[in-house]
């Protein structure tokens, strides 16, 4: 299978301070965020990324998206066409002067999609995140969870080939989260897109992903990289899935990997 994402020996170091004259930087202390990470995603894979707070997950996602570049190593991504990559940032990053619907329509607008097509796609994406009611409201009028959902809708609206998600459901209540988990799983099944999904919820990772990668504490290194095999293999995920013994076993493996990388 072709590799959709190929990450080799990536390192990323942040300078500690920016100098007063723009270009000058103080070469003193710096923060090594990612230290030699390598892994590849095949087309259509659903991979969860787990790691301690501040370890370098968002940094890695930025490099995969092309918004940041590694200091060492290489990141290769097969599909870099317009709208082929979507990224749900850790914060919602909505344009405050646009309503929810207008925010969700943005990627299509930038891609030159016609008005009618756009409206249909926006409605569909809003329905997927249960935000149809709030379509005409402005970001400042939304709750925290609603803002994140708007941001998820914006990522889904282009029907991307590669979907990068940085803790998209962290601000949602358990029930909404479960519904969105299931819906995301269905979308993935249907569209055969590649997903790299940062999450803190081990249960969520186990439920959704085919494969899990666990990072160590900063600087991020891969301490665990294994497929997740649930009993109803490749089958649909339902609430019942969470109660199977395979589920608990896989979750426990991830937790212990996380514990291992945390020391």
């Amino acid at each position: 299978m072709p590799k959709t994402v190929d990450i080799r020996g990536v390192k990323r170091r942040f300078p500690e301070k920016t100098g007063p004259l723009g270009g000058l930087t103080n070469d003193g202390a710096s923060v090594l965020a990612v230290d030699g990470v390598s892994f590849a995603l095949e087309e259509g894979e659903f991979c969860a990324l787990i790691g301690p707070s501040g370890c370098g997950k968002s940094t890695l996602l930025r490099m995969v998206s092309g918004l940041d570049a590694p200091d060492e190593g290489s990141v290769e991504v097969a599909s870099r066409g317009r709208g082929e990559i979507a990224y749900v940032f850790q914060d919602a990053h909505l344009l405050p002067w646009r309503s929810v619907a207008e925010n969700v329509a943005l990627p299509l607008e930038l891609g030159g999609v016609s008005h009618a097509e756009r409206d249909a796609a926006v409605l569909e994406a809003l329905a997927q995140v249960e935000l149809t009611d709030a379509a005409n409201r402005y970001p400042r009028e939304l709750s925290g969870g609603m803002r994140m959902r708007a941001s998820i809708a914006r990522a889904l609206v282009t029907k991307p080939k590669l979907l990068l998600m940085d803790e998209p459901f962290a601000a949602l209540d358990e029930l909404t989260r479960q519904r969105l988990d299931e819906r995301l799983f269905a979308i993935w099944k249907e569209r055969k897109l590649t997903i790299l999904f940062v999450t803190h919820a081990i249960f969520e990772a186990t439920f959704l992903a085919e494969r899990a990668i666990v990072f160590s504490k900063r600087p991020a290194r891969v301490v665990y990289d294994q497929p997740i095999t649930l009993d109803p293999e490749n089958g649909a995920r339902t609430s019942a899935t969470r109660a199977t013994p395979g589920f608990a076993r896989e979750a426990a493996k991830l937790l212990s990997a996380l514990e291992g990388g945390d020391t």
Partner: protein, 262 residues
């Protein structure tokens, strides 16, 4: 009910400045009278009002003349200033190379380039509008540039991610984001366009036909008609404030979407 509330809201907007004006006029009158400052230095407001009334026709026509050229210069500043700022913002190199020199427009005494203005624009309103433009464009550039530079980098990332063209970033991100700053620049440009037009009238305008406020000011000054002078000064302030209120109202409408995301 709604009409009553609307009336109340309008009153809340109009009463404070009116009250301040009345208090200001009373203080001025009492200073002028109390300190016995000679009327040829500081005429009491009553005298200014009388002069304004006696010269209402010429003052009104001068206001109109000056308003038109100031407005033309202002519009030119708004358009050229915003465009220039976006060009400067397109790269640090371009900004570093050219931005400081834009300041020359602000520091050049209009009288020094009056002959060039007349050469290029001819005597009359076009040269006056050019003067208003020169005096008022720099604040528009500076404020727009500051607004564009302050765009949240993560929103830039978003646009980059979706492959936005340079023009799209400009129209859909930088321009809307800089709009509050642009209106700040335009508020400053209002007053400057008025004084630029007045100065321009003194070196490149027509002195007859429909002379502007600059001509009235100089005439009154030369003839020590301080009451008329102050009336003309207030008239020019009035032109500036009218433009200012216009811009503020427009921007209040345009910026309704901009209240900070909290």
């Amino acid at each position: 009910m709604s009409a009553a509330r609307r009336a109340k809201a309008v009153a809340a907007i109009l009463l404070p400045p009116l009250g301040a004006a009345i208090v200001g006029i009373l203080i001025w009158e009492s200073i002028a009278r109390g300190l016995a400052i000679p009327a040829y230095l500081l005429p009491p407001p009553s005298a200014v009002a009388a002069a304004a009334f006696a010269n209402a026709g010429p003052l009104a026509s001068a206001c109109l003349t000056t308003s038109l050229t100031a407005l033309a210069g202002f519009v030119a500043s708004a358009v050229f200033g915003v465009v220039t700022a976006f060009v400067l913002a397109s790269s640090r190199l371009v900004e570093r190379a050219f931005y400081p020199y834009a300041l020359i427009l602000q520091t050049v005494p209009i009288v020094a380039i009056a002959p060039l203005l007349v050469l290029w624009f001819g005597v009359g309103p076009r040269a006056v509008a050019a003067s208003a433009f020169i005096v008022s464009v720099f604040p528009v550039i500076t404020n727009t540039l500051a607004g564009v530079r302050a765009v949240d980098p993560s929103l830039r990332d978003l646009f980059k991610l979706y492959g936005a063209s340079h023009a799209q970033v400009l129209v859909k991100l930088e321009l809307p984001h800089a709009l509050p700053n642009i209106t700040t620049g335009l508020r400053i440009a209002c007053g400057l366009a008025v004084i630029g037009a007045i100065v321009g009238e003194l070196v490149a305008g027509f002195a007859e036909g429909s002379p502007g406020l600059g001509i009235v000011v100089m005439t009154a000054y030369r003839q020590l008609r301080t009451d008329l002078l102050f009336a003309a000064v207030l008239a020019s302030a009035f032109v500036g404030i009218a433009m200012f209120v216009g811009i503020s109202t427009l921007s209040a409408v345009a910026l309704r979407r901009y209240e900070r995301n909290n």
